[in-house]
Amino acid sequence: MNPATHSTVAERPAESGGRSVWRVFAQSVKGVNVLTGYLSAVIVVITSLIVCYGVFMRYFMDSPIDWGLELSIFLLIIATFMSAAYTQLQRGHVNIEVLEHLLSPGANRVRYLIGDALSLVFCAFLAFNAWEFFLEAFEDGRITESTWGPKLWVPYLFMAIGSTTLSLQLLVQIVDVLVGWKGRTHGSGPEWRE
């Protein structure tokens, strides 16, 4: 977990009652998202090793593996969705900034808030839909068509979890701005960097 995420909190005075419950929740969401972000990157590294292993087994050992292609696809889809929240935490989802210089800081704040809320609408819908999709495939026992034939609910499950944590991350960022805890302008770009 990156210490930088916590530094913004440490500076703040103690909050009262309901707020501190929310704060624990918000911090947990951020913590989990940073963790899954790094794990996703590890998955990308593992996938590249799998691809090399597949090439090695096929070219040098003459015995192609039948699970390499599908496992790689699954892992990379899992990595993408499981790190969507981490990327959002860092404001890494790129946007078009033409209005930034035309509007006042206050108007920009409102604009970003609305943008985050609209983003949440989409992400929450996707999360809900992905859970349905997962349940459907789980009950059906759906598999792929290869000889390996893995269960499809596994990547679907991570798609659902990933879009859920992404929605929670957006929610936390919206509430942070609404209650003014952030104490900094809600601009684009990463909130913290290494």
Binding site: V44, G92, V94, I96, F125, L126
Partner: protein, 447 residues
């Protein structure tokens, strides 16, 4: 409501959302969702996740994170500095030598992989900081990489040309060969512009006295000893390129699998040769990789949903059919097809455009006797152009990801001249079609 009205409305709503400053990925997704709810049977809303998953379930597409990892690993070390210092040692007498080194580095990388964002990421992550450090303006530095990166889909191998070949039933081998000439033409044009622009920036800097001006004016003293001692530093990178080339042309791996080999090769090189194994170094590589690749993958994912709605509502088809039915003369038609594809390229990724538009344009292209191999190359250059035009320009996003300090506006302005050069290349191809067709017509056996 008729298709035209819905189409205009869809375009309008999407533009408003995009320009509101929402993340592009979510803006495209939300717009698609809204029109799905409004104009499509309700069952579609129930399969949003499925549509996205099905589109992402594509290994070639998913090599992006692997190429990004390769770039992030190399970018973290002084490998990038080594490459550019070495190339610069040899090119520094030429005005804009480091810029040229970047253009050539992009071209070489493009010859290894079929994806433009990947080329951009691999070269840009080390190239842009070096260029900026040497006093190149942010716009020129990012423009070189944004445009140089687009060569990935023109210089073979190219995923775009494969898709076009499948959609238009043209020989992929011929298409690949046809890409070589125009690719070289673009490299030449880019290099020429870099030299001109560099001279202009140097002249402007001569009147200033800030750090950037000093960096660009600083006259490096490079001896033959420097040049020769720079060579061993290129060795690791040379070996990596050699391994990738052998893997791809020696029958070890498919172009997609090369991404994995490149990523592992780069990581091993970075750890062993550059001793980059401290926890902090590794964390930087991991964090950079995932942020960048996820940003790109999420845009791809939702742009597929966006395209699906556009296609289902008949908007794309309507526009293309209308164009065909105008019965224009060859060059007028060609002109408007170019305009049409450029406009689509503002919003859509190459894959979507090729798959939707090619089948609809084919009858007209055939009727007007337009060479389909030649047209495929023109179309690919238009796709390249789309990669560096807003609001959806994959290369722009990649660069925005690898250099978060540089404003998107500067990247856009810096890429603008390169868009002009690509259009110029298309004009040259119209006047001298042989640049594309000569090689395949004379050297391609079969098909």
């Amino acid at each position: 409501m008729d298709t035209t009205t819905i189409g205009l409305l869809y375009t309008g709503v999407t533009l408003v959302l995009l320009f509101s400053g929402m993340p592009i990925a979510f803006a495209l997704g939300l717009s698609a969702l809204g029109f799905m709810a409004g104009f499509m049977p309700s069952a579609h809303l129930g399969s949003v996740a499925e549509t996205i998953f099905a589109e992402l379930d594509n290994f070639t597409l998913l090599t992006i994170p692997l190429f990004v990892l390769m770039g992030a690993a190399i970018g973290k070390t002084r490998a990038g500095a080594d490459i550019y210092n070495s190339l610069n040692a040899w090119l520094h007498r030429v005005p804009g030598g480091l810029g040229l080194a970047n253009v050539f580095a992009c071209a070489v990388f493009a010859a290894m992989c079929g994806s433009s964002p990947a080329t951009c990421s691999a070269i840009g992550s080390s190239g842009i900081p070096q260029l900026v450090k040497r006093g190149y303006s942010e716009g020129l530095a990012t423009g070189i990489i944004a445009a140089g990166g687009t060569l990935g889909i023109l210089i073979p191998p190219s995923l775009t040309l494969i898709l076009y070949g499948l959609a238009s039933e043209q020989s992929i081998g011929r298409l690949f060969m046809a890409g070589i000439g125009p690719g070289t033409l673009l490299i030449f044009l880019f290099a020429l512009w870099v030299m001109i622009k560099y001279k202009l920036e140097r002249q402007v800097a001569a009147g200033r006295n800030d750090a950037a001006a000093q960096a660009i004016l600083e006259d490096e003293q490079i001896t033959w000893h420097d040049r020769l001692s720079a060579l061993p530093r290129l060795l690791p990178f040379g070996i990596l390129i050699a391994v990738i080339m052998i893997a791809m042309y020696g029958g070890w791996a498919t172009p997609s699998e090369v991404a994995g080999i490149g990523a592992v090769g780069a990581t091993v090189m970075v750890i062993l040769l550059y001793q980059c194994y401290r926890v902090d170094d590794i964390k930087t590589i991991l964090s950079g990789t995932i942020r960048e690749s996820t940003m790109i993958m999420m845009i791809i994912a939702t742009s597929f949903l966006f395209t699906y709605v556009m296609s289902y509502l008949g908007i794309t088809q309507k526009a293309a059919t209308w164009l065909v039915e105008l019965e224009l003369s060859k060059w007028v038609f060609f002109f408007w097809v170019n305009v049409f594809i450029i406009v689509l390229g503002f919003f859509l990724p190459p894959v979507a455009i090729i798959l939707m538009v090619t089948p609809i344009l084919l009858p007209a292209l055939n009727a007007l006797n337009i060479d389909l191999i030649w047209f495929g190359i023109v179309m690919t250059i238009l796709m390249e152009l789309g990669l560096i035009t807003p609001p959806v320009g994959l290369n722009l996003f990649v660069i925005n990801g690898i250099s978060p300090d540089i404003k998107l506006k500067n990247i856009l302005l810096g890429s603008l001249p390169f868009i002009g050069l690509m259009l110029l290349a298309i004009v040259i191809l119209c006047v001298v079609p042989g640049i594309a067709t000569w090689l395949p017509n004379h050297f391609y056996q079969g098909g």
